[in-house]
Symmetry: C2
Subunit: 236 residues, 2 copies
């Protein structure tokens, strides 16, 4: 576990056609945490150009059953603060999902950066948590560094995530709002990431604090094992 008396260094991995709520749900939880506990935020992408949620960048690649991101007339942009080359040491890396993960070529640099961070033992205290939301788990699986681990992902895209490179080596849990296996935290689709973030606050700072944030956000939460969407999508 990280030393919570030191500033916590949070980093988000961003790519085009990410899902907005995958990023900003957990991030709103962390925003509130940042008021009470010193934390730094890095928004990391291939370059410093504004990152778009526009799914038309997929150029013919199917966005899959999860129609995340948005049409070209409805684009929002997020400003990265760092590139893969300039990102600082991090205690926590958060990986959102979205249609953009379907573009295997475009996201290969993201997978490579993530793998390098997972392998890096030089930094002290080092990467303590890697958290994925929704189909962000596909990027983590593709690093080949969660073989044998328990993990979960978006329920509508479950079979697709299981099909990416190295994903067959992962123990995918169908019914779970989120899954914790060592430093690897993975959530189900979209909104589940916010429940996971609240669970992570409880893990680090205790139940009173996570409950305080939940009611502040008027968030109607599900706990780690509550997952009505597994049955909805016919997953056992």
């Amino acid at each position: 576990m990280v030393n919570i008396t030191a500033p916590l260094r949070i980093g988000y991995l961003l790519f085009p056609a990410f899902t907005a709520l995958d990023v900003f749900g957990p991030l709103n939880v962390l925003n509130l945490v940042s008021i009470k506990h010193t934390m730094t935020l890095s928004l990391i992408s291939a370059d410093l150009a504004p990152v778009s949620i526009d799914r038309s960048i997929l150029n013919g690649i199917s966005g899959g059953p999860l129609a995340s991101s948005a049409s070209p007339n409805f684009t929002q942009f997020v400003l990265p603060t760092h590139t893969f080359g300039t990102a600082p040491p991090l205690d926590v890396i958060i990986v959102p999902g979205g249609s953009g993960v379907r573009d295997i070529n475009a996201t290969q640099p993201h997978v490579d950066w993530l793998r390098a961070r997972l392998d890096d033992d030089d930094d002290e205290p080092g990467l303590s948590y890697v958290m994925t939301v929704c189909t962000g788990a596909s990027l983590l699986a593709r690093t080949g560094r969660i073989a044998g681990r328990n993990a979960t992902t978006n329920k509508a895209a479950f079979e697709w995530v299981k099909s990416v490179e190295h994903a067959a080596d992962v123990n995918w849990i169908a019914k779970a709002r989120w899954v914790v296996d060592g430093r690897v935290w993975t959530s189900s689709g979209v909104s589940a990431g916010t429940d996971m973030a609240l669970g992570w606050v409880e893990h680090l700072f205790g139940r009173n604090e996570s409950e305080g944030l939940r009611v502040e956000l008027e968030w109607n939460g599900l706990n780690r094992t509550e997952d009505p969407f597994a049955a909805y999508y016919g997953l056992s």
Copy 2:
């Protein structure tokens, strides 16, 4: 009701120290809608500078009991697409909340722009919906244009919102996830905005479509009259 066969023109009113999830929860719902139905998005602010969620811009003004936005080391920015001067005609205006609404002087231009849009009958078909999330209702109340209307707002900040200029003329509903009164839609705190957005999709496009989006987002929703947070905050 708007003509849903024409492109729907959505506009967000942005100000510094807004709450991220107030914007991006409903916006993720609309992002999905935009894939199926033609819609345009305008992100509107005083100027085109990136809008920060950093609460330190409040400079000594209390953020109130709702500690939204984030510390200076943890800032995210959103890029506006339009200013008050360049914003196009709109069918829907969405107003988020956040600590920034506490700065009455800084948000006066936002209130004035919103009032002008509510008063404008020149545009055809004209503004069909104004929706507020969380303490965004304080900006709408300050326009003086919802006198006699039913409305709700964030439960932790309920008494503060009732104290702003012209708010005494509004019929504030304590127990409601969201409230509809004509073209005025107002939601409770933060996450309630996403439930309201799904309710608006149901109103416009039917229950099948809103339910489809809800399960796609794996969203654990509350309906219009379900509000456990009113009792939590001691509101009758």
